[in-house]
């Protein structure tokens, strides 16, 4: 049934298209300063070579 396949494909494409559109705005905003600053601050407070603290709790 080629008509069905075409319909299914169209609906799949439409979903993908909408999904991308729904999040494109956020993705295109790049990294807000808020997070850039936060990351820099966090890195300062915890120096890179903290090989201790092997706590693996994922909550």
């Amino acid at each position: 049934m080629p008509a069905d396949d075409a319909r299914k494909k169209r609906s799949g494409d439409l979903i993908d298209e909408n999904l991308k559109k729904a999040f494109s705005e956020t993705l295109e905003e790049g990294v807000p300063d808020r997070f850039r600053d936060l990351l820099a601050k966090l890195k300062q407070t915890a120096p890179e070579d903290t090989s201790e603290e092997p706590e693996n709790d994922e909550n």
């Binding site: 609906s11 979903i15 729904a22 999040f23 905003e29 990294v31 997070f35 936060l38 966090l42 693996n56």
Partner: protein
């Protein structure tokens, strides 16, 4: 000192984390707060990240676990999961692209969490099934079937297959009947 800090790699994943957070929280402000918590946790336990493994999936897992554990806590405390009420705004019908997007968003918000997650990670953010499975801590097969079911459910909610639903169900039923007949 010329050595790059491996934690700098976190930066490039922030846009995707924000998008995933919006999908989870359905709220832009809460989403960014969630990303902030995720970053704090990620840097605090960066030593537990195995270099060479998938940083994006690792970060998504932290974000996701933070969201669900907080929501569980909130529900326990308030016994009123009102955060779930979404999009109650009345919007004038517009007969253009906006309508389609609005319909899509409404349908998308109605999906089960696990379905919305799957479509966000795979359909919108382009993760592989493997990566998304890792992020959500489930098997790859589970992620695949969630994605397929999510697509079907979304199509149903958007009424993309309006004149087909009964037949589809019948086919599925039929195939199940046929399968069990061979057992």
């Amino acid at each position: 000192m010329t050595k790059t800090d491996p934690r700098d790699a976190v930066l490039e994943h922030i846009p995707a984390l924000r998008a995933f957070a919006r999908s989870l929280t359905k709220d832009a402000v809460r989403a960014d707060d969630l990303v902030q918590e995720c970053l704090v946790k990620a840097i605090a336990k960066f030593a537990s990240f195995k270099e060479g493994t998938n940083l994006r999936a690792w970060l998504f897992t932290i974000l996701r676990n933070t969201f669900y554990s907080e929501r569980r806590k909130a529900v326990r405390e308030a016994e009123d999961p009102e955060g779930e009420i979404v999009g109650a705004l009345s919007v004038k019908p517009e007969h253009d692209g906006h309508l389609q997007m609005k319909e899509f968003n409404e349908a998308f918000q109605q999906l089960k969490d696990e379905h919305r997650e799957a479509l966000t990670l795979i359909g919108a953010l382009g993760l592989s099934y493997e990566e998304a499975a890792e992020a959500c801590e489930v098997a790859i097969g589970t992620m695949k079937s969630r994605t397929n079911r999510a697509r079907k459910e979304l199509a149903r909610l958007m009424e993309l297959d309006e004149d087909k639903p009964t037949e589809l169900t019948d086919n599925q039923t039929l195939s199940i009947v046929n399968q069990s007949g061979h057992m």
